[in-house]
């Protein structure tokens, strides 16, 4: 017994020694170097994934075009010019003009603003809401039953139809588009968060926190949330992408962003009726939509591999 | 598909760096035939200078480097070593189970009943697998297909290799189940693997392997996943089958106790090489290689004093891309000298039955 004790003491003494020598400047330096190395490894891993880099570049470029739209293009996306209707591509109008003589290039650029705004907002909102619902459900049995049943019910309705129905009821409006698409995306997000949270909850360190008397809220947000955030971030990227698709689809059906506003879906909807005369009205916004979504999907895959290298697409 | 596999083997011979084949071409190619001709008739498997390498993200890694040994009819040969020493790779190379299109590159010879298996086409190889050489794996739950009945999986072997009717196959499968000690085989025949206990599943896997009465059974850690009492039963079964069918058995394990009880000869592997070979009595009574000594010393013994600490070999098996220069065991060897770190010791005989790969044989 006494020998054991002595052993323990020497061990702890040695530990104390080690920490003492390491708490100095040397330790800080070591920590910094390690962190730097880790970062370098992660960046290398990300950049070695060609798809992810391509996705990031595409997304950043579209974002840049959207932000710089007034600088790049001097046309007003809403300005009518009935003399120059359905003009093909020229130096003045690189993407041609539409049925009312509006510059398609300007409309595509300003459309990027709307699409990215809707997609981003929906992604973030559903991420946050999904996490709140999922975390809450994982800690409260009654709430779990009610919330998850509602999620099941919502998930049983195909998302396209649910979005269309909500838009029909709420009325075509950009705020309603965001609301409808968020409602559509929250259930899966909540399921994901809940699933992760249920696993985390059983971990010993959460048990330990509970024994130490940490409050429920504190455990939930300070200790569980950081551990479920990575899959949520990945999912947010995919929701971002699918919200862009859905917004375009809704606007295309006339149930999304109201008409004169230059959303990609609206441009496509107007282009559809003159597709035999003016292919460019459909082609360019279509290509932009597809490219942006592709970029986001690749980026999402990249982030997932980055966070969790064991998963395979 | 077969054609591709065949071509690969031919390509291998053409492309392979000479350094790998030199020794063979130099003096063995002629003498190999002689050696075989003069080899005792009861040798069923002869592995000569086997090298197995994998194309990985980190480049080409050799998991097995120049392994040679033989198995006689009715003999039980034990292959021991820590995890990552290449025991399983050796056995799966003999069966050519790796994907030869991309992943793996073999050199050397695996002569089974005189025939070099690396010369066979994929189709010919299929007739060897399961019929002439059979294999039992570690984890029966994951090695039996979960969506087919036990009976189906035994019958499949028979139906592939024996030209028999369904009824006949069924009859023999039920017999086989009875033979490996499964009670009520008629009922078990229709059950799925998940409905059986761990020991039962292992018996089923043995039944699958032995269905066609193979000449050689490769058992890759057949008892590792089982309870101790079940382990003994399964080992008894393997020994019984070994006697009954007079087949050679290659028993891969890291359990030295099992080897001592069942095998007649032992091979000790370390990092893709054989470091010692001998009769069970040789290896257990007077091990020559420090690695073997280390393994022996790390087995708990009943007669040891209670306070005594178990011996351990310091460090772990290095990764394949970090193979040390010189003797591969040198970095972990308590007796290593400068010479050990510089060059690789030869595999030399220490008696008529025992060989070891160490510079300091006799000194220690």
């Amino acid at each position: 017994m006494s020998i054991l004790h002595a052993n323990e003491m020497t061990v702890s003494a040695a530990n104390a020694n080690a920490t003492e020598t390491l708490t100095g400047a040397g330790f800080e330096e070591l920590k910094a170097r390690l962190a730097k190395e880790q970062r370098a490894i992660r960046i290398r891993r990300f950049t070695s994934n060609k798809g992810a880099v391509f996705g990031l570049v595409v997304v950043l470029m579209v974002l840049l075009l959207a932000i710089l739209a007034p600088v790049i293009c001097h046309y007003d996306p809403l300005a009518l010019d009935t003399v120059n209707r359905l003009k093909p591509m020229s130096l003045a109008h690189p993407f041609g003009t539409d049925t009312m003589g509006r510059d398609v290039f300007a409309r595509v650029l300003y459309g990027a603003r709307i699409s990215l705004f809707v997609g981003f907002t929906v992604g973030i909102l559903s991420g946050v809401l999904g996490m709140v619902v999922g975390l809450y459900a994982s800690t409260n049995k009654l709430a779990d039953n009610i919330l998850m049943r509602i999620c099941d019910g919502l998930k049983a309705i195909p998302s396209t139809l649910l979005a269309i129905t909500l838009m029909a009821v709420l009325g075509a409006d950009i705020r309603n588009v965001i609301m409808a698409l968020t409602i559509v995306s929250v259930p899966s997000m909540a399921r994901l968060a809940r699933g992760r949270a249920l696993v985390i909850r059983e971990q010993t360190y959460i048990e330990a926190m509970r024994c130490l008397g940490a409050s429920k809220l504190r455990i939930m947000w300070k200790h569980m949330a950081p551990n479920i955030i990575s899959p949520i971030i990945v999912q947010v990227t995919f929701v971002f992408a699918s919200a862009i698709i859905s917004e375009a689809a809704l606007s295309f059906l006339g149930a999304g962003v109201p008409a004169p506003a230059p959303s990609w879906g609206n441009i496509l909807n107007e282009g559809k009726s003159v597709i035999y005369q003016a292919w460019w009205i459909v082609c360019f916004p279509g290509a932009f939509t597809a490219l942006t979504v592709l970029g986001l999907n690749l980026l999402g895959d990249g982030i997932r591999d980055f966070i969790d290298p064991t998963s395979e697409g | 598909m077969e054609a591709v596999a065949e071509r690969n083997i031919i390509d291998k011979k053409l492309i392979f760096p000479d350094s790998l084949r030199e020794s063979e071409e130099g003096f063995k190619s002629t003498s190999a035939e002689d050696a075989y001709a003069t080899a005792p008739q009861d040798v069923i498997l002869e592995v000569k200078d086997l090298c197995t390498g994998f194309h990985t993200e980190r480049g080409f890694l050799k998991a097995i480097d120049g392994v040679s040994f033989s198995v006689k009819k009715g003999e039980m040969l034990g292959i021991v070593g820590e995890s990552g020493c290449g025991k399983s790779v050796t056995s799966q190379s003999i069966m050519r189970l790796y994907d030869e299109r991309k992943l793996v590159r073999y050199t050397g010879e695996v002569r089974f009943l005189g025939q070099n298996l690396f010369d066979l086409s994929e189709r010919e190889m299929q007739h060897v697998r399961g019929e002439k050489i059979a294999m039992v794996f570690q984890d029966a739950l994951s090695s039996l297909n979960p969506v087919f009945t036990v009976g189906h999986q035994i019958m499949e072997s028979l139906r592939i290799h024996r030209n028999i009717s369904r009824e006949e196959a069924k009859k023999r499968s039920v017999e086989m189940l009875g033979l490996v000690g499964i009670p009520d085989p008629e009922r078990r025949f229709y059950q799925y693997p998940f409905e059986l206990s761990g020991g039962m599943r292992q018996r089923v896997m043995i039944a699958v392997a032995l269905a066609c009465h193979p000449r050689l059974l490769i058992a890759d850690e057949p008892t590792t996943a089982l309870d101790v009492t079940i382990q003994a039963q399964i080992m008894d079964l393997i020994v019984e089958m070994n006697r009954k069918f007079d087949m050679g058995v290659m028993l891969i394990t890291h359990d030295l106790g099992v080897v001592a009880e069942t095998c007649s000869r032992v091979i000790v592997m370390y990092l893709g090489q054989i470091v010692e070979e001998g009769l069970v009595t040789d290896i257990f009574d007077h091990p020559q290689h420090p690695y073997t000594k280390g393994l022996m010393a790390s087995v708990p013994r009943l007669d040891s004093r209670s306070g005594e600490r178990l011996h351990q070999i310091k460090g772990t098996v290095p990764l394949l891309n970090q193979i040390p220069e010189g003797c591969r065991f040198a970095p972990r060897c308590p007796y290593a000298t400068e010479a050990c770190r510089r060059s690789m010791p030869d595999f030399i005989s220490t008696s008529s039955t025992q060989r070891a790969r160490c510079f300091r044989i006799g000194e220690l």
Partner: protein
């Protein structure tokens, strides 16, 4: 097995109940008075009151729900506000094109995607594998209406091979019929095909790396049989799931594709009803498809049990 099936069928009931409640409440989310919203700005107070009475909007919500549900059980989905037809008859008259379109889209997806996904997995790193990866990435980034527009540009506008809009019923000739729904079916099926390819490849890859495949090879099973018998039956669970999902996806995605190609199906009826504020039509179609979805999921669950004996027991 019988008990297993019964359990699956019974477990459907609570989900159906929740789905119906959700769909019922959707329409009652309308800000303000639904009757006023349906009738538009030109409606008089009497009109609104009359509609109130007809729809039973004055009664408490719970009672409204039960009236609605019991009517549906009697095959009465209510009347169209805009059209003076029963919703049931409107749905019936729009059913055929949607069914044909969905089936063709599914056939295209299944016939292309599953074999390609399997080849990609067995030939990992080959040209087929890389094309499958690229194709499936493109597929999930190309929504049906976008692909539809591109298909119209190429096959209708540029080469004039296929019509860009309109629907020819089956009774006017099979080939004309097929031609009229070919482009929409491709547009509808492509995303599902991409998803199927991805899932088939991933799950077959996982199975091919498993111990029992190695065991099968060690038994001397031919490579072809390993893939088509041993691995296939284990990937079947994934494939069944994906096919089930694709079926529902096609049916609901038809809304967008039908209005693009001017096909008089359920989807088009639904989209047109948005403009007419004909909530009962929308509600009924959504309910039908959601119920169909739940039933499909039940069948998928039961098929799991057929394929995988472990599912039956747990």
């Amino acid at each position: 097995m019988k008990r297993f099936i019964l359990k699956r069928i019974l477990s459907m009931i609570p989900v159906l109940f929740i789905v119906s409640v959700v769909i019922f409440s959707l329409v009652h989310l309308v800000p303000g008075d639904p009757a006023a919203a349906m009738l538009g700005d030109m409606a008089t107070a009497e009109d609104i009151a009359a509609l109130h009475a007809r729809l039973g909007l004055d009664r408490p919500l719970v009672q409204q729900y039960f009236v609605w549900i019991s009517n549906i059980f009697h095959g009465d989905f209510g009347d169209s506000v805009a059209n003076h037809q029963t919703v049931a008859s409107m749905i019936l008259s729009h059913l055929e094109p949607t069914i044909h379109l969905t089936i063709l889209a599914l056939i295209i997806a299944v016939l292309i995607a599953i074999p390609l996904g399997m080849i990609a997995a067995t030939r990992k790193g080959s040209v087929v594998d890389h094309s499958v990866t690229v194709l499936s990435l493109l597929g999930i980034s190309l929504p049906s209406f976008l692909l539809g527009l591109f298909l119209i540009l190429v096959f209708a506008v540029r080469f004039k091979l296929l019509p860009s809009s309109g629907y020819v019923p089956m009774r006017q000739g099979f080939w004309m019929h097929l031609k009229s729904i070919l482009l929409p079916a491709i547009a509808l099926g492509f995303m599902n095909a991409a998803f199927m390819m991805r899932m088939t490849r991933a799950s077959l890859l996982e199975v091919l790396g498993s111990d029992y495949i190695r065991m099968a090879k060690a038994k001397g099973v031919r490579e072809m049989a390993i893939v088509t018998v041993h691995a296939f039956k284990n990937t079947l669970v994934t494939i069944i799931t994906v096919i089930g999902q694709s079926l529902v996806q096609s049916l609901s995605g038809a809304a967008v594709v039908e209005s693009l190609f001017a096909i008089p199906g359920l989807g088009q009826l639904m989209v047109n009803s948005i403009g007419r504020r004909d909530y009962y039509v929308i509600q009924s179609i959504v309910l039908l498809i959601a119920v169909f979805n739940v039933i499909v999921n039940m069948f998928v669950d039961i098929l799991y049990g057929v394929v995988d004996p472990r599912v039956r027991v747990s």
